[in-house]
């Protein structure tokens, strides 16, 4: 047996000629975000033609701002989806995080920093609970987070009404710590005559970090593995529970971040806001090439998906159309982008095998 095993194996194709080096073109085509990129370019050219106001740097800054408002949380949601789970509570959590900060600080008259930290702990706690319940009960994350989604909606409205007597929080812009927090989360700066919100920079930073984590780190490897096949991942020693709970907490961290932005930009919050945004995050991720079943996707794609959202949202106005059509338009864009994704992916894999 030992003698036969020293010969080159018969069954495996061992000839070096079997190797193929994919052309650069095909390697580019095989990337998850390429479909979204094609869609973004097509939609962009379309709006450059039909919406003249879009052809300015100011508009681009506004589109980027609009994209960032969805994009920041969408980065986390995209990573979570690559890890094989959903979070439907992310949209409402943005409002919850802001409310915790605003109401707590206003009622007790304390420094806003205290509320911001408290709100962060609250958001991370909800994220941990979501993840822990999903992992320990084995119930689909869709259901668990649907539950926390409704709980948060109710609590947001209920607590705000109970404490402030209305559905809106009181203005916080005269309180201690406001100017610093406003500078961090909601200030603007001017570049070449164009006013850009700092949240756009934060968005770019989070996308860059997520890209690094997913592609270049051990944890990224684990995220793809738990989303692609969590049983296999567990069997080779990947801490599946920690990875998934960590992903849920990443989403809630980013939701907190967005909540801080909303609060410090508008200074008051409507407690009913945020409902429906969870779908926008998921749409951005799917348009960006994230596989709905997990294990495939990347952060750049999600960012492009968010950009398509921001561009469509504003360019409908720029084009002079009734903004009520936006959601219908978004739905069509979603279907188109998904179809392009599917087509491009088929094209690239077909060539790869052949």
């Amino acid at each position: 047996m030992s003698q036969t095993s020293q010969k080159p194996s018969v069954g495996a194709p061992s000839e070096a000629s079997n190797r193929v080096q994919l052309s650069a073109f095909n390697r580019v085509l095989a990337r998850p975000e390429i479909g979204a990129l094609v869609a973004a370019i097509v939609i962009g050219i379309f709006f450059l033609i039909v919406a003249p106001p879009f052809r300015s740097a100011d508009s681009l800054a506004t589109v980027l701002y609009q994209s960032a408002t969805i994009g920041i949380v969408a980065v986390g949601v995209g990573m979570l989806m690559i890890g094989g789970e959903f979070d439907l509570s992310a949209g409402v959590m943005v409002t919850s995080a802001g409310l915790v900060n605003a109401i707590f600080c206003f009622e007790y008259g304390i420094n806003l920093w205290v509320g911001a930290v408290l709100s962060l702990l609250f958001a991370l706690g909800v994220g941990f609970l979501n993840g822990y319940l999903v992992m320990k009960t084995g119930i689909a994350s869709f259901l668990i987070t649907l539950g926390s989604f409704f709980v948060l909606i109710g609590v947001n409205l209920g607590v705000t009404k109970l404490v402030t007597g209305s559905v809106t929080t009181s203005n916080i812009n005269q309180m201690d710590g406001y100017s610093q927090l406003h500078a961090i989360f909601a200030s603007t700066f001017t570049i070449g005559g164009v006013t850009v919100s700092i949240i756009v920079l934060w968005w770019f930073l989070f996308v860059a970090i997520a890209t690094w984590v997913l592609q270049r780190t051990k944890i990224g490897n684990w995220i793809f593995a738990v989303g692609g096949n969590s049983a296999s991942a567990r069997a080779v020693g990947v801490p599946v529970l920690k990875v998934k709970v960590g992903l849920f907490m990443t989403v809630s961290f980013l939701a907190w971040f967005m909540g801080m932005h909303t609060l410090y930009r508008f200074n008051t919050l409507q407690s009913g806001n945020g409902i429906g945004n969870e779908f926008l995050y998921i749409i951005a991720a799917v348009v960006g090439g994230t596989l709905l079943t997990g294990g495939y996707g990347n952060a750049i794609g999600v960012a492009i998906g968010s950009f398509i959202f921001g561009m469509t949202n504003l360019c409908i106005v720029y084009a002079g159309w009734d903004p009520n059509w936006f959601r219908a338009f978004l739905g069509v864009m979603l279907l188109l982008a998904v179809l392009v994704n599917l087509y491009v992916k088929k094209l690239s894999t077909a060539r790869k095998v052949g």
């Binding site: 047996m1 069954g11 061992s14 000839e15 780190t217 296999s232 069997a235 495939y296």
Partner: protein
């Protein structure tokens, strides 16, 4: 490929040394008793063939050794020390690696990512420090080539490889990361004749390199080709426990085909 395996195999292993010992091990899931009174010794440089029909307790047995479930009766010893694993990581740390039939690899991930999954090479101790991607790709490619597996592209998703190649990658990975005990869960079940042959050769090569191998299968022919010791499970209990010298292929086949029940059945059905 024997060379590669011996290169990474633990040099301190001596032929015949018991690596894993199970004494009177049992496992119940609630009121259901999946395994009872199992005695099994895995020795260095030997293949232990565990045979059994569906539901005989094979999976439960390996899940105990590999740390996916823990036993609740009897004792499990690794290198003479009693242990009770609570996660696969603990079993891996004791040098026990398992290659599962269906969950050996993550098919959407690239070959090199799969090869290093759970044992990534990083350039620093921080959770976010980068992986040494170039080096990982090079090592994965070299190790696979040494074992006779040439993949088209180390960056291709492992799902594009054939079933036999996927099993071999999983075995190569386990050996590369210093496994001393290799558990193969039905490695040939979904494979064709040629590919089964490749996997069986790897099994033999691992044995010759001094590893202890547990080979789980319901195919007595495959078990007989490589095993030194046979255990047949039926309804959670061992019904046969013999050395290679004490048993013939016919007996294994007869036991696996239903054994005594089959004889009884043929009497009843006699016309």
């Amino acid at each position: 490929m024997t060379d590669t395996i011996s290169e990474h195999a633990d040099q301190t292993l001596t032929q015949g040394e018991p690596l894993v010992e199970m004494v009177d091990v049992g496992k119940s899931y609630g009121a259901i008793r999946a395994l009872k009174g199992i005695n099994l010794t895995v020795r260095a440089g030997e293949v232990t063939g565990v045979l059994g029909d569906n539901g005989a307790g094979k999976s439960t047995l390996i899940k105990i050794i590999s740390g996916l479930h823990s036993h609740n009766e009897g004792t499990l010893k690794v290198d003479g020390n009693e242990v009770k694993f609570s996660s696969p990581r603990e079993a891996l740390d004791h040098g026990i690696a398992t290659v599962y039939q269906d969950l050996a690899v993550v098919s959407l991930m690239e070959v090199w990512r799969n090869f290093f999954l759970g044992s990534e090479m990083t350039s620093g101790g921080f959770p976010l420090s980068g992986m040494k991607i170039k080096e990982m790709k090079r090592i994965a490619d070299e190790e696979l080539q040494k074992m006779g597996i040439v993949v088209k592209d180390i960056d291709q998703p492992i799902g594009e490889l054939s079933g036999g190649q996927r099993q071999c990658v999983a075995i190569a990975r386990a050996v590369y990361f210093g496994a001393r005990v290799l558990i193969l869960d039905e490695p040939t079940a979904a494979l064709g004749v040629k590919q089964s042959g490749v996997v069986l050769k790897y099994t033999a090569a691992a044995r010759d390199a001094g590893l202890g191998v547990v080979f789980i299968t319901h195919n007595p022919h495959h078990a007989y080709l490589v095993s030194d010791h046979f255990v047949i499970l039926k309804l959670g209990q061992a019904v046969l426990d013999k050395k290679r010298s004490e048993v013939e292929l016919d007996e294994l086949t007869r036991q696996m085909a239903g054994g005594d029940e089959l004889t009884e059945l043929s009497h009843e059905l006699k016309r």
